[in-house]
Symmetry: C2
Subunit: 196 residues, 2 copies
DNA sequence: TGCAAAAACTAATAAGTGTTAGTTTTGTAA
DNA sequence: TTACAAAACTAACACTTATTAGTTTTTGCA
């Protein structure tokens, strides 16, 4: 059944999660009811449970998909043989494109992950901390190699991550300023401030 | 009644709003029930309505108090006769201290303002936009005076605002890294990247 | 065409929501 | 001590919540 449907948009589960991401972003996880989600899909609330286990499971899917994407990119960047500044540039660029391409999902992962239930809450929180500490290590190496000024690595990482996270504020301004322009300006701003 | 109480912590309304800010930050505006808030204060939910008009009114108080504080500081900074870089430094410093001193309130204003009802929602949204555009003007003048590189002012403002907003991530790390250290590092990072 | 499975439906559950009405307790000042 | 007002209480309202059970419809394949 519905194979054509599936080949276009993925399984119905995928459709539900996609729509949920959009609603969770706009109204929050708690602020979005299963009835509202169902109505947006064109189905009764109870029918959703033929495809998903619970409301919380939807949030898990969204958050861990995003976390996984960022982790994979970090793995790849760490492996690549290039300068530290170049690695940071790659990471920042990836953040920017994720924020633009899968805005709803990234936003929800950033804002609603605290609504996850255990053990997912701890798991997600640990992944975030791990991501941060690996970026800190990256900067430390850059300082050792004298590519980067003698700054406080942790503060630098938080500043960079916060700045790119704030790209969510750009939603609605995308027509006025091109993504490319945002990208080059932000990378310059954030890396000129620390590069030697 | 309770005049001693009042002189210490302000009116009972103030106590309610303070506790609400703490809960709203941890569990979100919708995620916090009036019963839960009441229990945290040591009272029945209905008793809260002797001091506040509605749940929504609490959120209004929090959001507009914060917005007002930032606006006042911006007014003062604009008036002060100093370099543009110095003005930006002042503003960034103010953001950092607000985030550290009234963390709950600033966090709630940043994350939960979308739950405001009209006309407060529009009012708040307009204040944010006004704040941004006045910072953009500041940077434009800095470029004219050749104090600042020829960057995209809007991107720079968003980058700075996002970075300082991200200071909320520092909650819990405050003991490890001193505020002063965070402050000087962030200001250098954010201003070295754009100063000529 | 008939069968089995997938996915929709209706109806109900138990719990929780903000808020109000009406009443009782508490604290202050005369 | 009495009177008044502030602020607490109990109980209830009318809804909304996520989720389940049981049933019917729809679908794809043999």
């Amino acid at each position: 059944m519905s194979k054509i449907f599936a080949s276009k948009n993925g399984t119905k589960k995928d459709v539900i999660i996609k729509k949920a991401a959009s609603l969770f972003r706009k109204k929050g996880f708690i602020g979005t009811s299963m009835r509202e989600l169902a109505e947006n899909i064109g189905v009764e609330a109870s029918s959703l449970y033929n495809h998903i286990g619970s409301k919380s499971e939807i949030l898990q899917h969204i958050c861990f998909k995003v976390a996984n994407d960022f982790m994979l990119q970090l793995n790849e960047t760490e492996k690549s043989e290039t300068t530290t500044i170049n690695k940071l540039e790659k990471l920042i660029s990836f953040h920017i494109h994720m924020m633009m391409d899968v805005y709803d999902e990234v936003y929800v992962a950033n804002h609603e992950w605290k609504q996850l239930e255990e053990p997912f809450l701890s798991n997600f929180s640990n992944q975030r901390k791990l991501y941060e500490s690996r970026m800190i290590e990256l900067i430390k190496k850059g300082i050792q190699k004298k590519e980067i000024k003698n700054i406080h690595p942790q503060v630098a990482v938080f500043t960079i991550l916060s700045a790119v996270r704030g790209l969510e504020l750009w939603q609605g301004h995308k027509k006025i300023v091109s993504i490319k322009e945002i990208e080059t300006n932000m990378i310059n701003h954030l890396l000129n401030g620390i590069a030697k």
